[in-house]
């Protein structure tokens, strides 16, 4: 992605990054001056397993157009957490569908502490999804009664 024109398409991406894996990996991307779109906001967490389904919906409702969960994958230092996280994602998808939100706007992936290229690819892929779908506000339906 380095050196390519950046067109952020008027969208926002949230990256949920684990303190021990993806957050250092994203730092390493910056340290290498490997560029990615500035509409990408990273929030650190010990483990994304902590987020309930409602948190993701809160993000979409507030105008986050794509969410990348950059987990540790099966290398999570926390016992069983990745399986629990992975099991939660279909439940989030169900809520997203109920609100008319494309499930492509949420992706669970694993980024390690040196996975700079993998991070750039995931960001690029999500940027493409957001560019194709446009702002989430355009497809979100009202909260069902």
């Amino acid at each position: 992605m380095t050196g390519t024109p950046i067109d952020t398409q008027g969208t926002r991406m949230l990256v949920i990054a684990t303190l021990l894996c993806s957050y250092p990996g994203i730092d390493a991307t910056g340290q290498a001056h490997m560029e990615y779109p500035p509409n990408t906001y990273v929030i650190p967490t010990p483990d994304p397993v902590m987020f309930p389904e409602s948190f993701y919906m809160h993000c979409f409702e507030k105008g986050v157009d794509g969410i990348l969960i950059a987990s540790c994958g099966t290398d999570s230092p926390y016992e069983g957490s990745y399986d629990q996280l992975a099991a939660r994602i279909p439940k989030v998808y169900a809520l997203m569908k109920a609100r008319g939100i494309s499930i492509r706007r949420l992706k669970l992936t694993a980024i390690c502490s040196v996975c700079t290229k993998a991070f750039l690819k995931e960001v690029s892929d999500m940027e493409a999804v957001m560019a194709e779908l446009g702002p989430v506000s355009g497809e979100m339906t009202a909260v069902p009664a």
Partner: protein, 700 residues
């Protein structure tokens, strides 16, 4: 700081023993005077991000008392600015927008402490790695993003609560599991630094796998004297107790205060045994000798080599028939009726040095088990040992082979669709790292010892990666070892050829000669088998120590915390963590020992307070959080007086046992759980702040 010792001595340490408390709503004090400091980082940030504008925007946020931009926030000047503002303006929260928190989070927390503030009321905003350095050609967008990140940090900071480190009284003693070189090295370092050690070894003898080697690379030192020197040094330490034939059968507690139940299987032999050779000779049982990797057999009463540690035979109870022939021959010093003994010890920290296993080739893999002339490199190591089963001679059917082929990467770097998964259903996708040099060491030794023996080296890739290891590759070329390289998808074929001059034929498509198919007639094929994780599943079940996808125990972070397990107080030493050579194993062991020493340096252990917390005013005692938590005793239900005379169950978090992952948080149907400093409402406030910032649309 609050001292939390959640159990009476002798009680189950995983059970919180906090007395019942009255449920009162938590009412965090919201920050009202936030100090915001924006760092130039020389020009690393300010060359891209308009730091003056970021500070100006921050100063206009509600709750912000002061916002400054300073050349280097990590400098004395920068830290002094924080301290001065705390004192002059009465700041109650601090946000520093600078580099990654991995670098200076602790620096700024200490600055808050010097100003008299709780250090956990600090929050970083990463505007260097994640703004100026990531978007150097988009200064306007980088500035907008930095503003959003600062807004988010302020929003969260206002909701932070003061925290105290979790403090646990520490036992100034350690447990080292494994009596190989890593465990011995760790035990010696710990003892010399004043930490008491209980060193346990599951087998009856110390030394691990290293004593099976003849010499070690790259120094070519004889292996056994090297290991025995280490053993002697450990034995000389007064505060080390060594237990062989011993394993962990139960483990409770937490960093600083583990209680471990050990089971010691009787040796069956005492120092009164004077006629070892007679006793061993009299034993009618014969089983494969694991010390010699199955080349020969041993008895049920056995000693792997003369001078082993301890220098006494031991009885293998799994195969002993208790016929008594050994006792009859020896006369005394053998007890066939001894029972296992269980003991309980306490330790503040545990070093895991349980080692590795060699990959066992599948029958038929490169002709293994189809011919006795297909052997493994560890078997060849035993043959080359002058004190080994063949007296140091590499021989097959009593003859030195005329032609030998090594094959690399057997059981390493396996790939789906080509290799078959092992018994655990897993492929060994990793490189075992040590095999290349070990193979070349053996190849060189063969060429030196048997100049008339042709040596072929068939490899996929080859790398002698450590200091002073490259000469093995150079020497092998000079000594006439013939290299051939095969592609992973076109591996060598080993065939038994009946009646031919050479009993085996290896066919390889050699990419070094542009794909020529070469047939190599050999007397012996040596498989350079990889390193695989040893099965320590029972210990893993006890401790919940994380395991990597490769099956080895996982460190918290390969670079930042390379010998620490995510389980506080559990340190990793050597090949329990990954394939390593002896140099690396002992280095890791010393690192683990140093970590334990630092951990147990005082009479208590301090841990970060980022653990789960319960709002008892919301909790209804449903217990769903207990199911979500994977850590024994981290969360439990306890009686709480919710009003005068009314006691109900409420969730309680044991801050020592909790790992702070937050798995319990989404399980709560009434949102009564959070992780301190990583609370869901704080995250929502960050999202609200980020999305309140105008969209960055094509900004440059």
């Amino acid at each position: 700081m609050a001292e939390r010792r959640s159990k009476p001595k002798g009680a189950d340490k995983a059970t919180p023993a906090t007395p019942a408390t009255r449920a009162t709503p938590q009412q965090p004090v919201r920050g009202e005077k936030v100090g915001v400091y924006v760092c130039h980082c020389g020009g690393n940030i300010s060359d891209v991000v308009d730091v003056d504008r970021v500070a100006t925007e921050a100063s206009q946020l509600e709750g912000v008392a002061v916002a400054r931009h300073i050349m280097f926030m990590c400098s004395d000047e920068g830290q002094k600015a924080i301290v001065d503002d705390i004192e002059a303006l009465g700041l109650d929260r601090v946000v520093v927008a600078a580099c990654t928190p991995k670098l200076h989070e602790a620096t700024f927390r200490r600055a808050l402490q010097r100003g008299g503030m709780n250090p956990y009321l600090f929050l970083p905003a990463n505007i260097r790695e994640q703004a100026s350095w990531a978007h150097p050609h988009s200064p306007k967008a980088a500035t907008e993003k930095a503003i959003a990140l600062v807004r988010a940090a302020v929003a969260k900071a206002e909701m932070l609560e003061p925290l105290d480190k979790v403090r646990v009284a520490a036992v100034h003693r350690s447990l080292v599991i494994g009596g190989g070189v890593a465990g011995l090295r760790a035990a010696l370092d710990l003892a010399r630094q004043g930490v008491g050690v209980t060193l346990i070894e599951k087998s009856p003898f110390l030394g691990g796998r290293s004593v099976q080697l003849h010499t070690v690379f790259p120094t070519e030192d004889p292996a056994r004297p090297l290991v025995h020197r280490l053993i002697d040094e450990v034995k000389a330490e007064r505060n080390v107790s060594i237990l062989t034939n011993t394993e962990v059968v139960a483990l409770t507690g937490y960093v600083g205060d583990f209680t471990i139940t050990l089971r010691t299987t009787p040796r069956g032999v005492s120092r009164d045994l004077r006629k070892s050779a007679e006793a061993i000779a009299a034993c009618p049982v014969k089983v494969a000798n694991e010390f010699n990797d199955g080349i020969d057999e041993r008895k049920a009463i056995y000693q792997p080599y003369p001078g082993s540690e301890p220098d006494l035979p031991a009885i293998d109870w799994a195969t002993c028939t208790r016929c008594g022939d050994c006792l009859t021959a020896a006369g005394a010093g053998i007890d066939l009726n001894a029972e296992p003994v269980e003991t309980r010890i306490e330790a503040g920290a545990i070093v895991v040095a349980t080692g590795f296993d060699h990959y066992q080739p599948r029958p038929g893999e490169y002709g293994y088990a189809a011919s006795p002339r297909v052997v493994t490199l560890p078997q060849v190591h035993r043959m080359l040992d002058p004190e080994g089963p063949t007296g140091g001679r590499l021989e097959i059917d009593g003859r030195v082979p005329r032609s030998v082929a090594f094959i690399h990467c057997v059981g390493s770097r396996q790939i789906e669709g080509v290799d078959e998964p092992g018994p655990a259903g897993k492929l060994h996708e990793y490189c075992s790292r040590v095999c290349c040099t070990a193979t070349l060491q053996a190849a060189n030794e063969l060429r030196k010892k048997y100049p008339d023996t042709a040596v072929y080296d068939l490899y996929r890739d080859i790398r002698t990666y450590g200091r002073d290891q490259e000469p093995y590759y150079v020497d092998s070329s000079k000594k006439g070892v013939v290299f051939m390289r095969f592609a992973n998808e076109d591996r060598p074929k080993v065939e038994v050829v009946e009646g031919a001059n050479y009993p085996l034929k290896v066919t390889v498509t050699d990419t070094l000669t542009f794909g020529a198919e070469i047939e190599v007639p050999v007397d012996l094929v040596i498989l350079s088998v990889g390193v695989q994780p040893r099965d320590i599943s029972e210990f893993i079940d006890m401790t919940h120590a994380p395991v990597g996808a490769d099956g080895f125990l996982l460190e918290v972070h390969p670079k930042l915390r390379p010998v620490e397990s995510a389980i506080p107080g559990l340190l990793l030493a050597g090949t329990v963590q990954a394939p390593m050579d002896i140099t690396e194993s002992t280095s890791a062991a010393s690192a683990a020992a140093a970590k334990v020493t630092a951990l147990l340096a005082s009479d208590h252990v301090e841990m970060e307070p980022f653990v789960a917390k319960v709002d008892p005013s919301r909790c209804d005692g449903c217990g769903l959080c207990l199911d979500a938590c994977h850590y024994a005793g981290a969360i439990a239900l306890q009686d709480v007086e919710i009003e005068e005379g009314v006691v109900e169950k409420r969730a309680y978090v044991n801050p020592v046992a909790c790992k702070g992952c937050g798995a319990c948080v989404p399980s709560c149907p009434v949102s009564a759980l959070d992780v301190a400093s990583w609370e869901i409402d704080q995250y929502k406030a960050m999202i609200d702040a980020i999305t309140a910032q105008p969209l960055i649309a094509g900004a440059r």
